[in-house]
Amino acid sequence: MTEPIDIQLKKGVLELCVLELLSQEDGYAYEIASRLADAIGMGEGTVYPLMRRLHVEGLVETYFVESSAGPSRKYYRITRSGRAELTRERNAWHAFTRAVNGIVGGRK
């Protein structure tokens, strides 16, 4: 059950990335999935279970918007508790990367 360390790292920060994107503007899953797939090389399907969980936990809410491309789009909007969670995770991320960088150091 071992897997490359970079995949584990990506999964760990997926939630942070999604909340960060949604804090900038509301988005729909396809857009979020493709942005993350391009930026950090995640499988696109991964984002859907995550969006469901964020929704159930009340970190995001959904609304529908008519789309020119076909059926109406489900948009996700970050909630107040979603923003609080984002702040927590962002702080944890900065503290973590700072600590790891202190140990790993730059390449000489």
Binding site: M1, T2, E3, I7, Q8, K11, G12, Y28, A29, Y30, A33, A37, G41, M42, G43, E44, G45, T46, Y48, P49, M51, R52, R53, V56, A69, G70, P71, R73, K74
Partner: protein, 191 residues
Amino acid sequence: MSARAEFLTTLRAGLRGVPTDAIDEIVADYSAHFAEGEAANRNDADIAAALGDPLALADELRMELRIKSFEAAPSTRTAVRVLAGTLAIGALNTVLLCIAGPLLALLSLAVAITILVCAATGVWFLYSGASLDLPGGTGVTVLAGLGLISAAVSLAAFFALAARAAGFGMARYIRLRYRLLPRISSSGAQT
């Protein structure tokens, strides 16, 4: 069957046992994903490949629902469902489970027997305390009986609390673990 239909059918089949409205919602999400991809000029086979293994996705979605229902109503039934789902996605080390499982079952059995023996002896003392002719007389025997019964009750209560706490701890652990499990890589590999 087209790649899209195959993906959605497999996903739906993998979600069997999940409430129908939740299945419909999930399938609608992925169906919308295909529609968006098509609008962006991608073909269904590419989209399906990028999404990953529908069965692995179904396992994960189902697992989350099970953990949620356990947290909402902790009971032996929901706990067992979480455990069964865990095995399906391999979030728990099978070897660990093979050792810890029987040990845990033995421990539960031992505690259950202790509780039963305590309670039965207590009731017996109360019921026929006078005729037993134990040292200390009837009064002491009756007190001992009451003591044993309350010991059984508090042991049972303590064990129930401990089991509940263990269940919640396990749910947290599993969630942490499966989030880090191989989900979807672009090759769809699942170890």
